[in-house]
Symmetry: C2
Subunit: 323 residues, 2 copies
């Protein structure tokens, strides 16, 4: 697989075989209240039940599993303060590969502790004055480490795409798939896999208001950036702009990008708690929010929403689901 | 099947075939933190992901599905303020059977609304001055309705026992199964199915402190009652004493009954939220609480805990998971 070419269906099938020993095949959950709310036949792909609480384990595992023995021997590096950091640390531990995680000094202690519990070396940086990519690339170069990028890598995209294979295996017909999107690795992989198996399926990205770089990039035909400083409760979905490779895939495959307000995300988190009995983090609930808020017309259709993760600390969760 | 004889494995297999169209085959969820916490290989049977949020749909569906056509034509009656009421109403709707639910006048509006949304007729009674069983039996007799008992019925026990078939199908080896217990229908059914397929498995009931009628009944060799007025956060697990039929099964099959304090249940609810990403009601978390609090030694063993339900309203949930 070229590092700059989109993964094929065969690449995603190879990823599925590679990651199977470490990754949970997550359930597709149906719910009568959800069907009633959207007027269609809805399924929630519960990646919050994935090991370590998010889909990120799939991509990181596929990337590390595909490294050559000499690359594995030197180790890997990732920069992330969140789910990708934990996933990379956990996957590296599984393969006996050393991992360096470049993380902001003010990252939540629970995420730092989780990464170190898998034996990762943490390199802290000052979020306000230092550039994590510059630090990460310098360390990777000096120590010969392989970079595990969060999204713009065909192996990472192929790993996330295994979710699409599972959806197609579980459902004979799929009309709509709604996928939370930040850099675009998840939606790129899922769209590639689902459309290979279910060509009629329409795949939509879903983004938070103020971080709608993809919607605007699709309209402009070139990648555009978000305005700096805009807040959203979807902390996992804040990226400057789409990836170069993922944008190429998303332009070719997506039906569009739906933009959802924070209040709809909170309502979806409450619905997930009360009806689905699933704990979702804000970014993990945004595709459900798009469905429940009517951002897309699902009446009479079979629709899959990706519930991408559930990593939210207890006090934040209590505050977010409050009335 | 005699109304007074324990269900056999064949009865439970027949139940599985009968309820399949309505009931979700729930996932067995594993989690690295849970394995680390108990020192064994642990699986959570997530019945909170069952339709309508609890295992109760299995037993109610099997009971109604097995009624003769003339019984179905007359209708069914259940008395319950909780999960069994909703399950009976939903199962009755599925089969086109009319349902009467005898419910306390002060039952939570959400539960009453849920039951009426399935077309059930609600008969309210005063919890302090009236006897629901007397009211229920009188109505059932006058109108020729079939009673859907919450636990002490072989069809209900067989329906709940389908969970045991699913566990045995998913796991080649099972050492321990921990099951929340009130009247005993769930644990009786699961023990019958699991021990038929995995004879070495030990099955434990788990009860809340102050409602340990089963532990004391097993010690005494006869059914004894709980002292009146003792409170527990496990609102779904408060019964006066074990059922007559279920006690017979439990005496023969259980390794014992573990008694767990409310504080351990709250800790298990928090663990389920933070690590498993599952919303559990207190009674649904008590088997997990037994495992996490060390009420049984699971080191080196394969252990299944039943997460029986997730029906807790949002404000109660927020309060219970608070520090």
């Amino acid at each position: 697989m070229s590092p700059h070419a989109p993964p094929s269906l065969a690449d995603i099938e190879a990823a599925a075989a590679r990651i199977a020993p470490l990754v949970v095949r997550t359930p597709l959950i149906s719910n009568p209240m959800l069907d009633a709310a959207c007027g269609g036949r809805a399924f929630v792909k519960a990646e919050c039940l994935q090991r370590h609480g998010s889909f990120k384990l799939r991509g990181a595992t596929n990337k590390i599993a595909a490294l050559a023995p000499e690359q594995r021997a030197r180790g890997v590096l990732a920069f992330s303060s969140g789910n990708h950091a934990i996933a990379t640390a956990a996957a590296a531990r599984h393969f006996g590969v050393s991992a360096v995680i470049v993380m902001p000094a003010d990252a939540p202690a629970i995420k730092r502790d989780r990464a170190t519990s898998f034996g990762a070396e943490i390199v802290a940086y000052d979020r306000l004055t230092e550039d994590r990519e510059a630090i990460g690339h310098a360390i990777a170069k000096a120590r010969g480490l392989s970079l595990v990028k969060p999204f713009d890598d065909p192996f990472v995209i192929a790993g996330q795409g295994t979710i699409g294979l599972e959806i197609a295996a579980d459902l004979d017909a799929v009309d709509l798939v709604l996928v939370c999107t930040s850099g675009g690795g998840l939606v790129s992989g899922i769209a590639t896999a689902v459309q290979a198996r279910r060509p009629a399926a329409q795949v939509y990205a879903v983004e938070p208001e103020g971080h709608d770089d993809l919607a605007r990039s699709l309209a402009a035909g070139v990648r555009v950036k978000n305005a700096p400083g805009v807040r959203s409760i979807c902390d996992a979905l804040m990226v400057e702009q789409p990836g170069a490779l993922t944008f190429e895939i998303m332009r070719a495959r997506l039906a569009g990008s739906l933009v959802v307000a924070d209040e709809a995300v909170r309502a979806a988190m409450r619905f997930a708690m009360a009806e689905l009995k699933l704990v979702l983090e804000p970014g993990g609930a945004i595709a459900l929010a798009a469905l429940l808020s009517g951002a897309v017309d699902a009446r009479g259709k079979t629709v899959v929403v990706i519930a991408s993760g559930g990593n939210v600390d207890l006090e934040t969760y209590r505050a977010l689901i409050g009335a």
